[in-house]
């Protein structure tokens, strides 16, 4: 992988989708198949770059790799600073994989050109957010993803799309409003407390700044509001069911699979890493909200009559586990959180695709109107089953690994929260199995008797998902190996800054290594 040393791979990962978006716009209006080809090639190229990155990543190194830094706005101390560590690596690869799959797996039905252009711009924005190590650059990408997503929901969504798109945009922008003030304040306060000059460089701020306790806590709150809306954490989650339900299938896949991770990733990178003391101080509140989200999401999901809304609420519950793991701050819990981000992206992404396919066939997502699909489309049902079991967290599939690590890791520092959260695992099997039972079991009535079996293109997409779900469930070690050094460094950083000693198990990953063989 020597070529990686010179090749500006991270910048390419951000710019290739932009080029692809321009390509789709420039491609002729009368050649829709060409437009789709350009879009697909650009997303696959980005995915390939991210896999190349994965292959070239130095496993033992906890720091940022492939760093590329160029001055951008000198007057403001802002530089184009990209880098990847074990935490962002997996999210970048997840993004790189999910985009081509969702382009391939879900069709826009009309106006392919702007659809693909927005989708690719969205990919560039998401990649930029995960890769940037400059607060300003991060904010820019974090904010810009709203625009393509707004147009995707508004332009290609379902009946109530305008309301949902607007709610999504305004909620997220509301959060960002605080973060922007927070970012600028961070930079100025850091200048006077250890950094000595104006810089938006995340690494320098995190390593050199000694925020006064009060200021640090305020700043953390400003950041946390933005990320809490994005995740979303319990009281500010109300945009999510609307946005997910009304978004087009690919939009839901990306929204759940990747964009929610911007929030959880942000909490890790710009909460825990930048403000360790404040993050530690806020643990009781955030842990409680996480657990409330787990239980609340599960209970509300059980009550849904719309299949897509059910999956949306299940996301709230799953993301609760990620937040729980993040603020438990043990090495295992954090590793589990990062894995859970990937797992949730795969399983919920696949679930949204499957629900989208059901809607294409039946033009309804109401659970009550679907019945006995297993009889007429057994392969479809089997695929759904595997994905659903992964979402429940059945051992042997990927969902189990993340949830298990989060729970055992959190037990060390957040015992009672973990005990309550564990109940969420049971509830997950209640709502998903019950929904599966109602939709797939029984005798199909007249409307469902003509339900078409999985098509080859759908099968191809689904097999990639199922392959990853099974592989990561059986052999998660490659991922853990890459995440763990960075997570351990983060835990050490938090320990140094807070003076707390965070318990570490003797042999952190023995059980999983044995399981992997």
């Amino acid at each position: 992988m020597e070529g990686l040393e010179q090749f500006p791979i991270l910048t390419s990962i951000v710019l290739v989708p932009v080029a692809g978006a321009l390509g789709t716009v420039l491609a002729g209006r009368r050649r829709p198949e060409l437009v789709r080809l350009v879009g697909l090639v650009a997303s696959i190229a980005t995915g390939a770059l991210s896999v190349w990155l994965l292959a070239g990543f130095d496993t033992g190194d906890a720091g940022f790799q492939f760093v590329s830094q160029h001055s951008w706005i000198g007057a403001w101390g802002i530089s184009w600073h990209l880098g990847v560590d074990g935490i962002s690596l997996l999210l970048v690869v997840l993004t790189g994989v999910l985009f081509p799959l969702s382009i391939l797996g879900a069709d826009a039905h009309h106006d392919h050109k702007p659809y693909l252009a927005w989708l690719l711009l969205l990919e560039a924005g998401v990649m930029g957010s995960f890769l940037s190590l400059d607060l300003f650059v991060f904010f820019i990408f974090f904010e810009i993803v709203l625009v393509p997503m707004y147009f995707l929901i508004g332009g290609w969504g379902y009946d109530n799309r305008v309301y949902a798109a607007m709610k999504f945009f305004l909620f997220t922008m509301f959060g960002s409003a605080f973060m922007l003030v927070g970012i600028i304040a961070t930079v100025f306060i850091a200048r006077d407390n250890g950094v000595g000059e104006i810089t938006f460089d995340l690494v320098r701020l995190a390593e050199q700044a000694e925020f006064p306790v009060g200021a640090g806590r305020w700043l953390f709150v400003a950041f946390a509001i933005a990320f809490a809306v994005k995740v979303p954490i319990f009281p500010v989650h109300t945009w999510l069911p609307d946005a997910h339900t009304q978004a087009p299938t690919a939009g839901s896949v990306i929204l759940a699979g990747v964009m929610l991770k911007l929030g959880t990733y942000g909490l890790l990178r710009f909460g825990l890493y930048l403000f360790p003391e404040a993050a530690w101080w806020s643990r009781p509140v955030l842990l409680t909200l996480a657990v409330v989200g787990i239980i609340y999401g599960a209970i509300v999901a059980t009550m849904q009559t719309d299949l897509k809304r059910l999956v949306a609420y299940s996301s709230i519950a799953h993301l609760g586990f990620i937040v729980l793991g993040t603020f438990a701050v043990t090495s295992q819990a954090l590793t589990g959180s990062v894995l859970q981000m990937v797992n949730h992206g795969l399983s919920t992404g696949a679930l949204f695709l499957l629900v989208g396919w059901i809607y294409e066939r039946r033009h309804t997502r109401a659970i009550a109107e679907l019945k006995g699909i297993q009889t007429v489309a057994p392969i479809f049902a089997a695929g759904f089953m595997v994905v659903m079991l992964s979402s429940i967290g059945v051992p042997g599939l990927n969902g189990f690994v993340g949830e298990y690590l989060v729970l055992i890791g959190s037990f060390l520092t957040a015992r009672w929260w973990t005990v309550v959260a564990a109940a969420g695992v049971i509830l997950a099997s209640v709502y998903l199995l019950w929904a599966y039972q109602r939709v797939f079991h029984g005798e199909p009535d007249d409307d469902n008797r003509t339900f078409a079996e999985l098509r080859p293109r759908e099968g191809l997409v689904l097999s990639v998902f199922v392959g990853l779900i099974v592989f990561l469930g059986v052999y998660p070690k490659p991922l853990i190996d890459r995440v763990e050094p960075s997570v351990n460094a983060l835990v050490t950083h938090v320990e140094e800054r807070t003076g707390e000693s965070i318990p570490r198990p003797e042999e952190p990953t023995v059980a999983l290594e044995e399981e992997g063989g």
Partner: protein, 508 residues
């Protein structure tokens, strides 16, 4: 030679730096040329009046850039016996005014041609108004400032009423005239009070007077009353709440290009004047007037964003959003106020100037799209007129979208750079509350821009397809320039920020 001249003329007039006045002279000259030549000749070719205006604006802008270099080399100075300031701040404002004038002239050309109203008068008024704006921005004497203010305002009153066929236009002009005259009177009374205390209307002398006497005899009541009255006059001109009530009616009623002229050139000139008066003339009272600016900022932000949301007419929406933008600009003024009179001017002044340039371009572009859409709807500018725009004119809808998201402050646009700069200045001075209020209000305002975008992109035209809007050449070019500038500054803002940071050395 000079000895002879002195002997012949006992009156020793002030030296006039003719070259330093060249931007003003070009604009005045062009206005006179248009009026005289236009009156004596038959109607010119289409677009020629606008062309002359645009050339004058361009020339004046280029001259301002040349002068900028001179000032950078030699330092700031005053002109015509201390009446006008020659500093980079004034030049930046001049450039903003010229850019606004250039773009507005291009848009106006097509609007007037379509209405069959093409003639030299409107352009001459634009040029006169721009001259007044530049005088306001450069005035180093409160009376000169008042003269500039009145020159700008009188031209604007006439411009607002210039569409003779629409009653709304006449109403708009009259409303603006009555309220504007009222606010000018406030301003003038403020000047009189300051004169009463300091014995001069010249800003340099006022500063000296305060410096000499202030510690001994504080005529606080008089000065404070004067400051308050000055602020009322200026706040009216920049359309800051609670002195904003004229804005929606006037913007809605006035011909669309004139509305954009008011929002860009008018606002830029008034803000430049406000900064100079407050920071240069009245730094001793900064702790007294800064809270007023704070309140003006908060009310403008809140009123501008919340009332914008309930409007259904796009011109009215843009009017309210301009109040919100005035609030953002006042946040920058408030930040500058913390350092008024100090050598290290902080970040406030430069952030306001960048915001003025970015916003001027944005608002002219947005109004240009409105003008194009209104062509096919008999002048109707409500949201329904925009429905299905993306089907009829995807490029126009895209341009509108870029301009609106930029106004909302989305990254990679000049609007984001401008808002970031202002918030940065506020945070640097620890005005956290103001910064948060501003950002939250921009979320509310975003709802308004989204509503226009929803109409343009998502909803279909009401009954069948509306007529496809033609895009005339000069408006098209102006729009491309606006959008290009917006995106370019959004991605490469360094040069503009560097330039703006060199404007803090005022002539005194």
């Amino acid at each position: 030679m000079s000895v002879v001249a002195q002997a012949v003329t006992p009156f020793n007039g002030p030296g006039v730096g003719w070259f330093a006045l060249s931007p003003l002279l070009v604009l005045v000259g062009a206005a006179l040329f248009l009026l005289v030549a236009g009156a004596l000749t038959p109607t010119w070719w289409r677009g020629l009046y606008a062309f002359v205006t645009a050339v004058a604006a361009g020339t004046a802008g280029v001259l301002a850039v040349v002068l900028w270099d001179d000032i950078s080399d030699r330092g700031p100075a005053t002109l015509v016996g201390g009446a006008l300031a020659l500093d980079t701040f004034a030049m930046f404002a001049t450039i903003v005014v010229c850019v606004g004038l250039l773009l507005v002239a291009m848009v106006t050309s097509d609007v007037l041609h379509r209405a069959g109203n093409d003639g030299p008068e409107i352009y001459a008024l634009y040029l006169v108004a721009a001259t007044g704006g530049i005088v306001m921005a450069a005035a180093n004497d409160l009376i000169v400032l008042f003269v500039g203010l009145e020159t700008l305002s009188l031209a604007l009153y006439v411009l607002a009423a210039s569409d003779r066929r629409r009653a709304a236009s006449a109403e708009s002009g009259l409303k603006y005239f009555v309220l504007g005259g009222f606010s000018s009177a406030f301003f003038l009374y403020g000047v009189a009070l300051i004169y009463g205390v300091t014995g001069s209307t010249n800003i340099s002398r006022i500063v000296e007077a305060f410096g000499d006497r202030l510690p001994i005899e504080r005529n606080d009541a008089l000065v404070l009353a004067g400051v308050a009255l000055l602020l009322v006059g200026l706040a009216f001109k920049v359309a800051a709440a609670p002195f904003h009530v004229w804005t929606p009616d006037v913007y809605q009623g006035a011909p669309t290009p004139v509305s954009s002229f008011m929002a860009s050139v008018g606002k830029a000139a008034a803000f430049a004047a406000m900064l100079r008066v407050l920071l240069v003339a009245l730094p001793f009272y900064r702790d007294d007037w800064r809270p007023i600016v704070w309140i003006l900022a908060v009310t403008s932000l809140v009123v501008g964003s919340f009332l914008a949301v309930v409007q259904t007419d796009v011109k009215r929406m843009l009017a309210y959003s301009s109040i919100n933008h005035a609030g953002f600009l006042l946040v920058g003024v408030e930040a500058a106020a913390h350092r008024a009179g100090e050598t290290d001017a902080g970040l406030g002044v430069s952030s306001v100037l960048v915001y003025l340039l970015a916003y001027s371009v944005l608002v002219i572009g947005s109004f240009a799209v409105v003008a194009l859409v209104a062509r096919t709807t008999d002048g109707a500018t409500d949201l329904d007129a925009f429905r299905g725009l993306s089907r009829r004119r995807p490029a126009l809808a895209l341009a509108l979208t870029v301009l609106l998201v930029a106004q909302a402050g989305v990254p990679f646009t000049s609007g984001f750079v401008a808002k970031f700069g202002v918030i940065r200045a506020a945070v640097d001075e620890h005005s956290y509350v103001l910064a948060v209020v501003a950002m939250v209000s921009s979320v509310v305002a975003a709802f308004l821009y989204l509503r226009i975008m929803v109409a343009a992109w998502i909803t279909e035209a009401p009954d069948g397809e509306l007529e496809r809007e033609p895009i005339p050449f000069t408006t098209g070019v102006a729009l491309i320039m606006c959008v290009g500038f917006t995106l370019f500054v959004g991605v490469v803002p360094g040069w503009l920020l560097d330039a703006a940071e060199r404007t803090t050395d005022f002539a005194r």
